[in-house]
């Protein structure tokens, strides 16, 4: 027998097959999960992975090239770059996640309201959004941090103020489609209030696009955090943050390339991981959607 009769398979086998095929079909999801997992381990248990403290100085080993003892070399204070990069993971990850989470929530709610109520509510919210859209993301963030003053908290505030616009637009367009679906009309005929319809019936059906975007947005926020720290507007030295480490190492770039290169590579690694995860998630949510 060379053809497989699908109807002859027990449902459990079919289910398993479907799961495997999604897993196989989306190598990006696999790679993303593994890479993000590694980043999470680094962020969770930096002390177990790095032998040295990220801040203890060692005047005898200044600007040493990568070796077995110091795999990423040492910086101008003799600090272990590997330890600094590993310990920086938690800070960069926190920036990425926190700076994504808040705009994800506020933006989605704004999009929900704009898309559902339409008319003047939509017009007002969308014109405000246009103002934010008119400026490049990072320029606006830098401007706000410059006004509020440098520091991690102000960095968060700046990204929260600017980051909601993409979520609002994504969710709004999805809501405009969903609110005309018959299940929403059915909910209205059943007498459900707006709040119940919005949160229980529309929101779960419009969030998948936002979730996928958020996974990719974590990368953007990590990069923004690193960029601002590099410019001296975000995390302040001696806290080990990748952008700040690169900023400090910039002066020694010609003698000690490793100070800048390894935190840069860490950024690339984490960024790629979250991008792949977002990519894989969009595949997964699309196949599951109907």
């Amino acid at each position: 027998m060379d053809t497989l009769d699908i109807t002859a398979l027990p449902p459990a086998a079919l289910n398993r097959k479907k799961k495997i095929s999604i897993w196989k079909k989306s190598p990006s999801l696999n790679a993303g999960v593994v890479m993000v997992g590694l980043v999470l381990i680094f962020a969770g248990l930096p002390g177990l992975i790095a032998a040295f403290s990220p801040t203890s100085q060692d005047a005898d080993h200044i600007l040493e090239a990568p070796s077995l003892a110091h795999p990423f070399g040492t910086d101008n204070f003799g600090r272990d770059v590997f330890a600094r990069v590993v310990h920086g993971t938690r800070i960069d990850l926190t920036i990425g996640l926190l700076a994504t989470l808040v705009p994800f929530i506020t933006g989605s709610l704004i999009g929900l309201i704009a898309g559902y109520y339409g008319k003047w509510v939509d017009s007002v919210l969308m014109r405000i959004l246009d103002i934010f859209m008119a400026f490049p993301f990072i320029v606006l963030v830098i401007a706000i941090v410059a006004i509020l003053g440098p520091g991690l908290n102000n960095l968060y505030i700046a990204i929260w103020l600017v980051g909601w616009k993409d979520y609002a637009r994504l969710v709004r367009s999805e809501v405009m489609v969903a609110k005309n679906a018959e299940y929403v009309q059915a909910a209205k005929i059943l007498g459900f209030g707006d709040l119940r319809i919005l949160l229980r019936h529309i929101l779960p059906n419009v969030l998948s696009v936002s979730i996928v975007f958020a996974a990719a947005d974590v990368v953007m926020c990590m990069l923004s955090g690193a960029s601002l720290s590099f410019l001296g507007l975000g995390v302040q030295p001696p806290t080990p943050e990748w952008g700040a480490i690169i900023s400090e190492g910039r002066a020694y770039l010609s003698q000690a390339w490793w100070i800048c290169a390894f935190p840069g590579l860490a950024l690339v690694f984490a960024g790629t991981g979250f991008s792949l995860l977002g990519d894989g998630l969009s595949d997964l949510l699309r196949t599951k959607g109907r």
């Binding site: 018959e182 299940y183 059915a186 209205k188 059943l190 007498g191 779960p204 059906n205």
Partner: protein, 333 residues
């Protein structure tokens, strides 16, 4: 049947109108042109007795669905009254309306968009029943089992999501949701037109059985005349927002009074290989409801049209006992 005795009528719609305002382009505002209006439902009146099925037929775009959605207050009526068991629901607001909503429900056309894809059958039905306090939380499971049995599905399906069901099954679930509130009036908006022909009969028979068992009053909207003939007691024919003819089903199919009804019946496909002639086929598209023709709305497509038809709009009047038609020259007199 006397349609003028108001007290006996369970559902009584009087002079219902719904007009949509179209977008007003900036050029038109500058040129001071008035905003264009779309008269989807124009001065519609009809009645339904308790336990009766009224069919509503007409081409797509004639306002059938708008009429249905206005009756259930999904759209705000511009004018007119909707008496439901003596109470004008067109005037109700807020809590009173929500309370009254229990009694009238709707079954939708597209089974693929009428169920929330992220809610299991149990969640969906539980929410409906608890929201309207149909029963207590402990009784919910019992009620769900009973509902599912009523629509011919097993209790085991309650944990599943809409995506796991076929079109026919989804439509059954839609019916179960409508029945969850024990309504006495149901509007079925093209309930089977999205289904395979083989499934249509099952769902129609289910609806007919349930109607009989629960003594429901039904407004059955369809463009499929065979289905309408099968399930309805009386039929109203709609054309461009107005009812042009209303009669008992068999009488209407035997002999149409309005020329539009006649072509509509003739245009319906007949399953008879020997009958290959098509005497009448309706010509052209219906005129746009934005620029209605003067006089009778059907006059541009009517083969009987005379001068008066292009000047004066005919009123819906009794042409024979129990038969209403809006035509200057009804085909039966």
């Amino acid at each position: 049947m006397d349609t003028h005795v108001a007290e006996k009528q369970y559902i009584q719609v009087e002079g219902l109108s719904k007009t949509f305002k179209l977008k007003h382009p900036i050029i038109d505002i500058l040129m001071k042109k008035p905003r264009k209006l779309l008269k989807a439902v124009d001065d519609v009146s009809f009645t339904i007795e308790k336990g009766e099925t009224l069919g509503l037929v007409g081409e797509s775009g004639c306002g059938k669905s708008t009429l249905a959605r206005t009756i259930v207050r999904l759209y705000e009526p511009d004018q007119g009254k909707i008496f439901f068991d003596g109470l004008d629901i067109a005037a109700l607001e807020g809590k009173a309306l929500r309370e009254e909503r229990k009694k009238f429900q709707m079954i939708f056309q597209d089974p693929y968009s009428s169920l929330n894809p992220r809610m299991s059958v149990r969640d969906m039905l539980t929410e409906v029943m608890l929201f309207h306090r149909i029963c207590t939380r402990s009784e919910v499971d019992h009620h769900i089992a009973e509902l599912l049995r009523t629509v011919g599905m097993s209790e085991a399906t309650a944990e599943r999501f809409p995506g796991e069901f076929s079109g026919g099954q989804r439509q059954r679930l839609g019916i179960a949701r409508a029945l969850a509130l024990n309504p006495s009036f149901i509007i079925a908006d093209e309930p089977v037109s999205a289904l395979d022909v083989s499934i249509q009969a099952q769902v129609i028979n289910l609806l007919a059985d349930i109607q009989e068992a629960l003594n429901l009053t039904l407004l059955f909207i369809s463009h499929d005349l065979r289905v309408v003939r099968h399930v309805t007691h009386r039929v109203a024919v709609m054309y461009l927002g107005k009812i042009v003819e209303m009669a008992e089903t068999e009488a209407l199919f035997k002999e149409a009074a309005h020329p539009y009804t006649k072509v509509l019946i003739k245009a319906a496909p007949v399953l008879d290989p020997r009958n290959r002639t098509r005497e009448y086929a309706i010509e052209g598209e219906p005129p746009s409801p934005i620029n209605l023709p003067a006089g009778c709305r059907f006059n541009p497509r009517c083969s009987y049209a005379k001068d008066i038809c292009r000047r004066e709009e005919p009123r819906l009047e009794e042409v024979k006992p129990g038969r209403l038609a809006a035509c200057h020259f009804p085909l039966i007199a």
